[in-house]
């Protein structure tokens, strides 16, 4: 698999579209994710070279094939969620986007020469991502470094007088990200249509929910700390020059970020590096050329630069995107918010959507190719098994009808890959023994599943002692699997 295939496996839409949202939401916290996403595949390159030196070609345990298939299906699921959310953001039903994308991915499965279109699809992705950014940057009339300085010097992110949330109002459905709308200051909310609004207030230790049936033009007053409950279909207006709920307190606070939590940083790094080693290292040739590694590195760096640019110009020209928490699909509004309601802005939104679709298709081809590589003696038939992939796309498509946050899903899938598959790459001499590799993979995946399940338990002990393992289970599961592989590999007869 060459650099384009590796880029398509790693930089799926769920990753490259989420990076600007994470940077916008968390400043340096998001940048850390971006940096880890760049470094992880490069670590996988070195792991592959090291693995090749120890000898390739142990038989592929069936357990590993099954886990790899489930990992790929999980990534397809996360990406279908993203495509559905993007389409839903433009006003069409989510399922339309999910159905078209899943059908496209499945159709490519039936085409034996699908690998040939990976590069053209990536070129379309590049155009779909870069052209809107360049035009938004030109419209802003400021360099990326200047834009960062302007954002980092802002005293706050406020609703502009010409914002559609102020002038005519927008559907509240578009404002609810992952955090809900929580107000930091007194704010008057005016409804543009008839309906019911609910505010959740916290007074002292107890909470209370208030409900109003409102007619067009009527308004309610939200106090600091109040949370506006979702009311899909309700059009509301906010006050001009008031802080956007969900935005950082100031540009200075955004640029400085929170105090970095070392345990979270470690957990994320292990998950991404382990996932990259599991997914990418075995797909690399034993002797990757300098050109291939250079192309891979350039593509990763370009993706991070794009994500930073998109985040910075969004914060500069479209602070409305902070409303209710930043989401990947919410960033689709940036051209319209920066350039205003125009045909050009709509075309840029469309271009970004086309780029995301192209990226999804390229990723499905590359992910199928990754699974096919474990069946090289069978001619990679597993990668073209229509029944199997119809099951994967169908299952992922149905699952993605239920809206979930795609980024935690990606981390969950990569963590599972890191726990079950990465040990065999990291300890190649032991990993070449199928029984030892299977045992280690089983242990890794079991530990991962137990910790992931425990992660939903909010006990104090868990929070204090095992928070990192519960939040990023691969931190404990990967070393456990490595230990088992090392022991089993030593005991197994050669």
């Amino acid at each position: 698999m060459g650099a384009p295939g590796l880029l398509a496996v790693w930089l799926t839409p769920a990753v490259w579209l989420t990076l600007p949202a994470l940077i916008l939401a968390g400043g340096p916290d998001g940048l850390w994710v971006g940096l880890a996403a760049v470094v992880a595949p490069l670590v996988a390159v070195l792991a592959r070279v090291r693995q090749a030196r120890s000898g390739d070609g142990g038989p592929v345990p069936l357990f590993h094939v099954a886990v790899l298939f489930l990992v790929v299906a999980g990534l397809i699921w996360a990406n279908l969620v993203v495509v559905g959310d993007l389409v839903g953001r433009l006003g069409a039903p989510r399922w339309h986007g999910i159905a078209i994308a899943a059908a496209g991915g499945l159709l490519l499965t039936a085409w034996r020469g699908a690998e040939r279109v990976t590069v053209p699809l990536l070129v379309v992705t590049l155009g779909g991502a870069v052209v809107p950014l360049l035009l938004v940057a030109l419209a802003s009339g400021i360099s990326p470094v200047g834009a960062w300085g302007a954002v980092a010097s802002r005293t706050g992110f406020h609703f502009a007088r010409q914002s559609h949330w102020v002038t005519e109002g927008r559907d509240l459905r578009l404002a609810h990200g992952h955090t809900g709308i929580v107000f930091d200051e007194e704010h008057r909310i005016t409804v543009s249509g008839e309906g019911t609004l609910r505010l959740y207030s916290k007074d002292g230790g107890s909470g209370a929910e208030r409900e109003w049936k409102l007619s067009p033009g009527q308004s309610i007053l939200a106090r600091p700390g109040d949370r506006l409950e979702p009311a899909p279909g309700m059009r509301v207006r906010f006050e001009a020059d008031k802080r956007v709920p969900g935005a950082p307190p100031s540009g200075i606070a955004w640029a400085a970020g929170r105090r970095v939590q070392a345990r979270d940083a470690l957990g994320l790094a292990v998950t991404l590096m382990g996932g990259a080693i599991a997914l990418l290292a075995p797909a690399l040739p034993p002797r990757p050329s300098r050109l291939a590694v250079g192309l891979l590195g350039s593509g990763l760096v370009l993706a991070l630069f794009w994500a930073q640019g998109w985040a910075i110009y969004a914060a500069l020209g479209a602070p409305d995107v902070f409303l209710g928490g930043v989401t990947a699909e919410g960033l689709l509004d940036v051209p319209r918010l920066v350039l205003g309601e125009s045909a050009g802005a709509l075309r840029l939104q469309g271009l970004l959507l086309v780029g995301a679709f192209a990226s999804f298709l390229a990723s499905t081809i590359a992910l199928r190719g990754r699974v096919a590589r474990v069946d090289a003696p069978g001619g990679g038939e597993i990668g073209r098994d229509l029944g199997l992939w119809a099951m994967a796309f169908g299952g992922a498509g149905v699952a993605s009808l239920w809206p979930v946050d795609p980024w935690p899903l990606v981390l969950l899938v990569l963590g599972a890959a890191a726990s079950a598959l990465a040990p065999a790459v990291l300890l190649p001499r032991h990993g070449n023994q199928p029984r030892a590799a299977t045992l280690a993979g089983c242990v890794g995946l079991t530990v991962f599943a137990l910790l992931a399940a425990a992660g939903s338990v909010r006990g104090r002990v868990l929070d204090d002692l095992l928070a990192v393992a519960a939040g990023y289970p691969a931190v404990a599961a990967l070393p456990a699997a490595l230990g088992v592989l090392w022991l089993a590999g030593r005991r197994a007869p050669e």
Partner: protein, 94 residues
Amino acid sequence: MRISPHARREPSATPSTSITHLRAAGAILVFLLAAFPLLAMLPNDVAGIRVAGLSILWWYGGVLAPLAAAATATLAGQCSAEEIPSSPDAPGLP
């Protein structure tokens, strides 16, 4: 689905220099990554000092470290791979 075993290739007997290259490159990549949170944790908000319009933390995490990581992997991967005997692109482990 047919998953058949492959003949295992013997480990190559190569000098330890390329192993050292790989280890050094891996250490550099990990250091490049680890330096970001360490930089952010420096006292007196040293990472927030602006140089040519960007803070030190953003220069490092957004520009310098990614470029340095890409260059390190490109150079080290090739140096070490040159000493691996050429073989068909075996499927290897998943």
